[in-house]
């Protein structure tokens, strides 16, 4: 269980502050895979970093009795000037692992990542797919209760995605996920619940469909309002996707067989 008690967090932008959370109290349940929804810049990544303990709230506290991973993303967790091996060694060392344990971890990471001799080259030379492989492999080597995933599955080749999907299935047997992605389909496939972040508020939806619906309403409203400004491709892609999903849900509802919320659809 993760509990947020009157948490406020803002980050500085050019003029003033932008609030990620403004006096939010919240209880995130155990054993639920949670999708984090929100428009660009709502602070989804900052939220993950806070849950992971890399950042502290400006005010309030976050309490948990679970082992939470660091956020797994393509741009986080590795120092570009160090090789993959040195990065892995660093994580082992700060956790005080024995040489034998370090050896095991390195074997597991190399087995999963399959990046060959790149393992001994600086991470700055990696492609984003290789970074994802390494990051995923590293976190898989450790036993966390909750894994924080930040847009990790949107990169890499088909083989990696396949592997990642299988790994997710394995993880979900023993741990839960808190998942940031702009791909609503991925989220729907992996999560049962949703947390919708916007303007410093965080609304928790036990059923992900409700969360997505709220998110879509929000996007819809903003999209029509800002139609002149259409260059935000990521957001409009989400919007298109969202519309498709909404249509499908509506059709399903009309056909009398509403999508079984709470359980991810199997497709």
């Amino acid at each position: 269980m993760i509990e947020l008690r009157q948490v406020t967090k803002a980050y500085p932008v050019k003029h003033g502050l932008r609030y990620v959370l403004r006096d939010v109290s919240l209880l995130l349940p155990d054993r639920a895979n949670i999708a984090i929804l929100g428009p660009n810049g709502a602070g989804k990544s900052t939220f993950l970093r806070m849950i992971g303990g890399a950042e502290t709230p400006d005010r309030g506290t976050i309490i948990t009795d679970r082992d939470i991973s660091w956020p797994l993303g393509i741009s986080t967790g590795f120092q570009g000037s160090l090789t993959g091996r040195q990065n892995v060694m660093f994580v082992c060392r700060i956790n005080g692992l024995s040489p034998r344990e370090i050896k095991t971890v390195i074997r597991q990471v190399t087995d999963f990542a399959e990046i060959g001799e790149y393992f001994d080259m600086p991470v700055s030379t990696y492609s984003s797919g290789m970074r994802a492989r390494l990051g995923f492999g590293l976190s898989m080597a450790f036993d966390f209760d909750i894994y924080l995933i930040d847009e990790l599955t949107s990169v890499g080749d088909a083989m990696f995605r396949q592997k990642a999907k299988a790994a997710f299935e394995r993880i979900k047997k023993r741990a839960s996920l808190i998942f940031v992605s702009h791909n609503l389909k991925t989220l729907k496939n992996s999560c049962e619940s949703a947390l919708f972040l916007r303007d410093g508020n965080a609304d928790f939806y036990p059923m992900i469909d409700d969360g997505i619906a709220a998110y879509l309403d929000f996007i819809n409203e903003h999209h029509t309002r800002g139609r002149a400004n259409r260059d935000d491709t990521a957001e409009s892609k989400t919007y298109r996707q969202a519309r498709k999903l909404a249509r499908r849900t509506a059709r399903a509802a009309a056909g009398g067989q509403a999508a079984p919320s709470g359980k991810p659809p199997t497709n």
Partner: protein, 268 residues
């Protein structure tokens, strides 16, 4: 591939965890600093020595006469090492966060840790260079005295602490204003000439001496010489002044850092 068995992360007390993090960061520092050279560790000694060699060749012949008590290269080296203890924590600070940004995502790595690791690293390498310097000096028959080891250590350590304090101050400032990175090296350049590194303080005109004594480095460098070389006499420098400055600057730096730690963490 068989499914890997995930390893539970061991729990440590905050103190042990801090030691582990600092140690890992220092090892990481060593890997990038010396790892790319064939005989990386040799450069530990060679770096300050080369500097001394260049300056020694240029100024040594003139300056030698002003310090009859000590072979000039050793006179110079002692000053250079102390100066290095002052400037290198500052320079290391400016890039400490950028160079470890990716590693701050791990919850037990706090923004201050890269700074502490770099400070420790500079102290260790200088101590190592100093030891080699002593061994070589004694091997060449230069008379060194270790009767005032306490004073000697305080001279080195207070200079280092001042450098660390300024490093923290500039490290925080640099996170807000990147221009600092350009200014600091320029400001450091005159230090070689106003810190009595090249000449003994006593050879300067009296009016200049009283001005130079505002520089805490003059105190520590001169006192260290006095402690290390038995025949070297000093008049004017004291330990209280650089000590007071060290404590003040370090406290200021830590306070400033503490007040801005959230911003520094979010920047990563």
């Amino acid at each position: 591939m068989s499914a890997p068995i995930p390893l539970p992360l061991p729990k440590h007390s905050p103190l042990v965890s801090k030691v582990l993090v600092i140690r890992a960061l220092m090892l990481r520092e060593m890997a990038t600093r010396f790892g790319k050279y064939k005989f990386g560790f040799v450069w530990l000694i060679l770096e300050p020595l080369l500097g001394v060699l260049v300056i020694g060749l240029i100024i040594g012949t003139i300056a030698e006469r002003s310090v009859p008590e000590i072979p000039y290269p050793f006179f110079l080296l002692n000053g250079m090492l102390i100066l290095k203890l002052f400037t290198s924590p500052m320079n290391a600070s400016l890039r400490a966060l950028d160079a470890n940004q990716g590693l701050l995502v791990y919850p037990n790595v706090k923004p201050l840790d890269p700074f502490l690791a770099r400070f420790g690293f500079e102290l260790l390498t200088t101590a190592f260079a100093f030891l080699v310097f002593c061994v070589v000096a004694m091997w060449l028959g230069v008379r060194l005295s270790f009767d005032n080891l306490g004073v000697l250590l305080l001279c080195y350590l207070s200079t280092w602490a001042t450098g660390c304090g300024l490093g923290l101050i500039f490290g925080v400032t640099s996170a807000y204003y990147k221009e600092i990175d350009k200014v600091i090296p320029v400001l450091q350049r005159p230090l070689l000439f106003i810190s009595a590194v090249l000449f003994p303080l006593s050879t300067m005109p009296t009016s200049a001496q009283s001005l130079l004594l505002y520089n805490p480095l003059v105190h520590t460098i001169e006192l260290a010489r006095n402690a290390l070389f038995p025949f070297y006499k000093v008049d004017g420098p004291n330990l209280a002044y650089p000590g007071l400055i060290a404590v003040t600057v370090l406290a200021l730096g830590l306070t400033l850092f503490h007040n801005h730690r959230n911003f520094l963490a979010s920047r990563a």
